[in-house]
Each structure stands twice: as structure tokens, then as C-alpha cells.
């Protein structure tokens, strides 16, 4: 028995109309996508965050204060240089590194969301002033990241430098005539594979939030 909501004529009409008019795909750019996939896989593991690190996030956040105290006491005049002291300072450095990596992951996730949205909105009348303001905020963090131990990793440093350039360009967008500039920025992002590299730098899974602002 036919369900009272079923209407074969409507269903067929709906299928035909949706197939031809709703987000009708163009031919996929196979070669371009393949080139980006290969590049992203080469650049994968820009930073390595092992699963246990996510569980260590809360502890790392709590210990940020301890790290500061540890560094202060290590550098204090008359500080002891015993073997036990050296071991403690190594552990403190290791925890600091965890905190930096977690903060780096949070920052990369925010930047990825921003740039994905920027590129998707390239043809829309998004608020240029707002985009520029957001880019400036991320740019400040990028520059802090470049000065942090997170940038000791050469691949991460290269990615941060690419991001710094893109964010700088967006932060300088002219609200009056920005269509051409946006196209150029988007082209530059595509050519340098910024988004695939950025995505491959972000570990899968939820972004930890407990250390927001650790940098």
C-alpha cells in the first residue's frame, strides 16, 4: 500500500529538478587535486601530536605556572646545578614543549577555519573590514608563534611564514576595491598549497581548549 505521503510524480519531478539545478558539479580538476594531495602527503606530520598528548593537556595547562617558576628559579642567581636539578629542568622543558605544541594546534585550527571560510567567501560580499581585523588578530599570534619554540621545527616554521604572508595580505585588504586583491590572495594560497599543508599539520580529533592563550 502506498504511504499517504508518497507521490511518485512529485518525487520524480523533485529528483530531476534537484539533479539539474542544485549544486550541479562541474568536471573535477583531477590533476590539480592530485598534485595537492601528493604535496600534502609529502608535507604531512609537520608537527606530531601523539594521542597521549591530548590527555596531557590539562596537566600541561596547570603546570604552565610551574614552568615559569622553574625557569625563574633555574636562572636565579645562586641556583644549584645538581643532577637532580638538571633532570627537573629537562622535564620542565619537555612540558613547556607540550604546551607550545598544543597552543600551536589550536592556533592552526583557528587559522584553517578562517582561511577556508575566506576562500569559500571569495566571491561573496563578505565584510572586508571584519576579515582584515580577524587576519590581524591571527597575524599577531603567527608572529608570536614564529618567536616561540614551536618554530624550531623547520617545516612548521615554513608553514608559519607562508601563513604570515597570507594573513598580512588579508589584513591589508582595501574595503573599496578588494575583488581583484582577494583573487590574487586566493591564487597565491592555491599555488603554495597553504591549506592542504595547514590541514596536514593539524592532528585529527578535537582541538584541546584547556591551554587557550598559553602563548
Amino acid at each position: 500500500m502506498m504511504d499517504q505521503h508518497e507521490d511518485p510524480k512529485f518525487e520524480q519531478w523533485l529528483k530531476d529538478a534537484a539533479r539539474t539545478t542544485y549544486h550541479a558539479p562541474r568536471t573535477p580538476p583531477r590533476e590539480e587535486m592530485w598534485a595537492r594531495i601528493e604535496a600534502a602527503r609529502r608535507d604531512k606530520h609537520v608537527i606530531e601530536l601523539r594521542p597521549w598528548l591530548r590527555w596531557a593537556v590539562a596537566a600541561a595547562a596547570v603546570l604552565v605556572l610551574g614552568i615559569g617558576i622553574g625557569r625563574w628559579s633555574r636562572n636565579a642567581p645562586g641556583g644549584s646545578k645538581t643532577a637532580a636539578g638538571t633532570q627537573v629542568s629537562n622535564e620542565i622543558d619537555s612540558l613547556a614543549n607540550v604546551a607550545y605544541q598544543v597552543a600551536a594546534t589550536q592556533y592552526l585550527s583557528r587559522t584553517e577555519a578562517f582561511l577556508t571560510s575566506f576562500r569559500a567567501d571569495a566571491n561573496r560580499s563578505a565584510n572586508t573590514a571584519r576579515l582584515a581585523r580577524q587576519a590581524r588578530d591571527l597575524l599577531t599570534t603567527t608572529q608570536l608563534m614564529l618567536d616561540s619554540p614551536a618554530a624550531d621545527n623547520p617545516r612548521l616554521r615554513a608553514l608559519l611564514e607562508d601563513l604570515e604572508l597570507v594573513l598580512m595580505q588579508i589584513s591589508l585588504l582595501n574595503p573599496v576595491q578588494d575583488g581583484h586583491d582577494r583573487d590574487l590572495i586566493t591564487q597565491g594560497m592555491n599555488q603554495s598549497n597553504v591549506l592542504p599543508k595547514l590541514r596536514s599539520a593539524i592532528p585529527a580529533g578535537p582541538v584541546p581548549v584547556r591551554t587557550e592563550g598559553a602563548l
Binding site: 512529485f10 534537484a18 558539479p25 590541514r199
Partner: protein, 180 residues
């Protein structure tokens, strides 16, 4: 060479086999990504991410289901998570915009069928919309959809039925188009 042999060669590190596997599936992955995202740049991003993940995780593919089913599970996960991320970002942007600007955007009139159909599909709840696009537009079976979305086949059928019912109400003004 059949697909299981191709997959074995990819696992063994054969880059030509990787490319062959990509060529065999990229069109359908991209089509689904584009239908769901409605944007070429996003669809390309999601397609790339799907294949990167698939190649990285090929070791966990046991062959219980078809490779295409496994791949489309990754596709839907990547696309739906990606779209949620973009939506959250845009929502934050909208929240800090002034109320007047939002009001103007929301009051746009869409008189023609194509625009009304687009709006009606966009307005569907995420689950209904995904099932409708996969089944009615891209031709996936309820079994494939169930595996890809991690739901029962019956759930997929129920969501499709509700999606069609909602679309029928939303497009009631155009009833003359399908009753003639």
C-alpha cells in the same frame, strides 16, 4: 587488475596504484562533496582531504564492505565536519555583524523555482538534507547511506521520506509543475 589487487599494491607503496585508485573514485567523491558543499573550492578541499585520509588509513580497510562504501564513509565525515566548521565560523562572523546587515541578508526574496528549491534544500535539517542529496540526487542506496553515515537503513529511509515531505510543503506554490 581488480580493485583488491590494486589496494594491495597501494599498501605495498606503489604510487602508480595510488593514482589508479584515485582515478577510479575521484569523480564520485568530488560530486558528493560538491553537492553537499555547493562550492568548488570547498569540494576540492574535501576531496583532497578524503583521499589523504584514505591513503593514510588504508591499512585499516579490512574489505568487509566495498572500497567505495568505505571511501564514501570518509567523504561524508570529512564534508559534514568541514561544513560544520565553516558554518560555526560564519555564525561567529554574523554574530558580530550589526543587526541591520543580517536583516537585509535574510529578507532577500527568491521568486523563481530554482532559487526556491535551493533554499528549501538548504533549509532541511542536516541529516535529512544529506540523505536526500545522497539518495535522490546522487543515486546512493539506503544501504550505502546507512554505512556512510553510521545509521540504520530504516533511519535513512525515514529521513528521506521526511525530507521529501518538507520539500513538498516548501514548494507547494509550484504544485502545477509536477501534477500536469
Amino acid at each position: 587488475m581488480d580493485e583488491s589487487q590494486l589496494i594491495a599494491r597501494v599498501r605495498a607503496g606503489d604510487s602508480a596504484a595510488e593514482r589508479a585508485l584515485y582515478d577510479a573514485h575521484v569523480d564520485r567523491v568530488y560530486r558528493l562533496a560538491f553537492r553537499l558543499a555547493g562550492d568548488d573550492a570547498l569540494a576540492q578541499d574535501f576531496t583532497q582531504e578524503t583521499f589523504i585520509r584514505a591513503f593514510d588509513r588504508l591499512g585499516s580497510f579490512r574489505g568487509d564492505a566495498a572500497f567505495s562504501t568505505w571511501l564514501h564513509t570518509i567523504t561524508t565525515t570529512v564534508v559534514l565536519n568541514g561544513l560544520r566548521k565553516v558554518k560555526r565560523f560564519r555564525q561567529r562572523e554574523a554574530d558580530i555583524d550589526d543587526a541591520h546587515e543580517i536583516g537585509v541578508v535574510q529578507r532577500h526574496a527568491e521568486p523563481d523555482l530554482k532559487a526556491r528549491l535551493k533554499q528549501a534544500i538548504d533549509d532541511l535539517p542536516e541529516g535529512y538534507r544529506t540523505v536526500f542529496l545522497m539518495h535522490d540526487v546522487e543515486g546512493y542506496t539506503h544501504e550505502e547511506i546507512g554505512v556512510a553515515l553510521g545509521v540504520e537503513t530504516g533511519t535513512s529511509k525515514a529521513q528521506l521520506s521526511r525530507a521529501r515531505a518538507k520539500l513538498r510543503v516548501a514548494l507547494a506554490d509550484f504544485a502545477g509543475e509536477w501534477v500536469r
